[in-house]
C-alpha cells in the first residue's frame, strides 16, 4: 500500500474577518441598491405626473358637476 495519501483531520480555521467584511458590504450595497431603485422609481413617477399635468392630459381639479 505505497503512495497512499495521508488523510488529515479537517480542522475549522475560523472565520476570515476580511471575507466577512466584504460579504457585509456587498449585502449592504445590495439592500441600499434596492432602496435606490425605489427612490428612482418615485422620481420617475413624480416627473411623469408633472409632465402629464403640464401637457394637460391630467388635472388635479375636480370637474364641476
Amino acid at each position: 500500500m505505497a503512495n497512499v495519501p495521508k488523510i488529515r483531520k479537517a480542522v475549522y480555521q475560523g472565520p476570515s474577518i476580511v471575507k466577512e467584511i466584504i460579504y457585509g458590504i456587498a449585502l449592504g450595497l445590495a439592500a441600499g441598491g434596492l432602496w435606490k431603485m425605489h427612490h428612482w422609481n418615485n422620481q420617475r413617477r413624480t416627473r411623469e405626473f408633472y409632465d402629464l399635468l403640464e401637457k394637460g392630459e391630467i388635472s388635479v381639479v375636480a370637474a364641476d358637476e
Binding site: G14, P15, G24, G28, A31, H39, L52
Partner: protein, 260 residues
C-alpha cells in the same frame, strides 16, 4: 397612454396627514421635493450601515458562540482596521454633507421679487391673513381670520382638526412671500406638503419664499405650543389657477369698496 392616464387619475396627491402614514406627504414645492430627495440619499447610507452592522453582529454571534469557540481571543488592537473604520465613516459623512449643504443654501435663497406677499399672524388660537398688495389706501383691504371648523360642524368628507372656515388662497406656479409673526405668544406656521415651517414670534417678522407647483389644498397645523388650543388652529392653503385667484381677490375686495 390609456394605462398611464388610468394610473395617474387614480392617484390623489397626499397633501394632508393620513391615518397610519409612514412617509412624507407628497411634495408640492421644489423645497419639499429637495427635502424628500435628501432624505432618500441619507436613507441609502442608513440601510447600508444597518445591513452591514447586522451582518457582522450575527456572524460574530454565530462564529464565536461559547459552544463553538470555547477559548475567546484576546485581541487588544488592530491598527489597519482602526484606520479603516475611521476613514470609511468620514467618507460617508462627506457624501451626506454635500447634498445636505446644497439643499440648505438653496432653501436660504430669497426670491428677490415675489409676485405676492401674504402676512400670517398667529393669535391664540387662530391665524389672521393679510394680503396687503391690494391696498389702495393706508387701510388693510384684504384681511381675514382663519378659525378651525369644530368637529360638530364638519360636513361629510371634511378632515377633523384640519379644516378652517377661511383658507389661504394663493395662485399656483407663482413666487410667494409669506411673512409670519405673532400677536401674542409663540406659534409656528407649518404646512408639510409645502415643506414649510416658520416660527411666529411676537415682535419679529420671519420671511419664507414658496412656489406651489400644482393646484390643490394643503393642510398644516400650528407647530409651537401656544396654550390650551394649540392643536386646534390649523392652516389650509388652497392653490388655484391665476385666473381663479384674480376672481377670488376681486370678490374679497368688492364688499370693502362697496362700503367705501
Amino acid at each position: 397612454m390609456i394605462v398611464l392616464k388610468w394610473l395617474f387619475l387614480t392617484i390623489s396627491p397626499c397633501d394632508a396627514a393620513e391615518p397610519w402614514q409612514l412617509g412624507f406627504q407628497d411634495a408640492a414645492t421644489p423645497i419639499m421635493q429637495g427635502i424628500i430627495d435628501l432624505h432618500h440619499d441619507i436613507f441609502f447610507f442608513l440601510i447600508l450601515i444597518l445591513v452591514f452592522v447586522l451582518w457582522i453582529l450575527v456572524r460574530a454571534l454565530w462564529h464565536f458562540h461559547y459552544k463553538e469557540n470555547a477559548i475567546p481571543q484576546r485581541i487588544v488592537h488592530g491598527t489597519t482596521i482602526e484606520i479603516l473604520w475611521t476613514i470609511f465613516p468620514s467618507l460617508i459623512l462627506m457624501f451626506i454633507a454635500i447634498p445636505s449643504f446644497a439643499l440648505l443654501y438653496s432653501m436660504d435663497e430669497v426670491v428677490v421679487d415675489p409676485a405676492i406677499t401674504i402676512k400670517a399672524i398667529g393669535h391664540q388660537w387662530y391665524w389672521t391673513y393679510e394680503y396687503s398688495d391690494y391696498n389702495s389706501s393706508d387701510e388693510q383691504s384684504l384681511t381675514f381670520d382663519s378659525y378651525m371648523i369644530p368637529e360638530e360642524d364638519l360636513e361629510l368628507g371634511q378632515l377633523r382638526l384640519l379644516e378652517v372656515d377661511n383658507r389661504v388662497v394663493v395662485p399656483a406656479k407663482t413666487h410667494l412671500r409669506i411673512i409670519v409673526t405673532s400677536a401674542d405668544v409663540l406659534h409656528s406656521w407649518a404646512v408639510p406638503s409645502l415643506g414649510v415651517k416658520c416660527d411666529a414670534v411676537p415682535g419679529r417678522l420671519n420671511q419664507i419664499s414658496i412656489l406651489v407647483q400644482r393646484e390643490g389644498v394643503y393642510y398644516g397645523q400650528c407647530s409651537e405650543i401656544c396654550g390650551t388650543n394649540h392643536a386646534f388652529m390649523p392652516i389650509v392653503v388652497e392653490a388655484v389657477s391665476r385666473k381663479d385667484y384674480g376672481s377670488w381677490v376681486s370678490n374679497q375686495l368688492i364688499p370693502q369698496t362697496g362700503e367705501a
